[in-house]
Symmetry: C2
Subunit: 144 residues, 2 copies
């Protein structure tokens, strides 16, 4: 059954946090390839990935970023989310063997005029290394 948080704009407070874990597998990588058509060998050819200094094929950065969709749409604020903008910086390469990743978001600004919240985001691998940091601006829709 689909479940998600249902925070409304009035419920959002500065400093609110949400976090969750996600798995990245070969199957996840294949689905992302099917969606995007991104056949780049860094993500698809072990030999090439190793030649560039990586222990395994590198997980698509935009696949790691895709979990920000889940952060906003399921957790913070959940149902009434509408993402306005996203900024991400990739700090370290992500490998399947470093899964699960942990995704964390914290409310750092609340804009009453736009009904928009700013969420600072970090994603960590299972060694607790930060692999991504970013900022999302998310509108909170009226309850319907």
């Amino acid at each position: 059954m689909a479940t998600y948080n249902t925070y409304q704009f009035k419920d959002i407070k500065l400093g609110m946090e949400q976090s969750f874990n996600v798995e990245i597998t070969e199957e996840t990588m294949n689905k992302f390839l099917e969606i995007t058509g991104d056949v780049n060998p860094l993500h698809n050819d072990l030999k090439y990935a190793k030649s560039q200094g990586n222990k395994e094929k590198v997980v698509y950065g935009m696949l790691t970023s895709s979990f920000l969709s889940t952060l906003a749409g399921v957790y913070l604020p959940g149902k009434y989310s509408l993402i306005h903008s996203v900024e991400v910086i990739f700090k370290k390469p992500v490998f399947i063997s470093d899964s699960p990743l942990s995704v964390k978001g914290k409310v750092t600004e609340i804009n009453d005029d736009f009904k928009q919240i700013t969420i600072n985001v970090s994603i960590f691998n299972r060694k607790q290394e930060k692999v991504l940091r970013g900022i999302m601006k998310v509108g909170v829709l009226d309850a319907k």
Copy 2:
């Protein structure tokens, strides 16, 4: 057969452009849901999406953004791409019926010290409305 451009850093010139079209279908949406677990009803429940003023279910913004992976990894620069950072602003909602989308990138800065290029990105729906604009900073790896 996997094909991609193989521009090296020395080949990249200011103003270079690449563009391509992508299809978004129900199947694409389902795959993105399976990857992310983002069960938000704006993307999954027609009735809710309509109640929020949309003609159809809204395509995940981070799904639209995922084609920036393809832009860098297949087109510009292609094989030797390593995405450092991405900023995107969602200008209009995307609907499946507005597919195909056209993805365009243009080199606007070249940093010789970091072997990094800046790509200004725009994504248009089939009505030629801009649905996303953004900036990517992409490293160009040495040829291996």
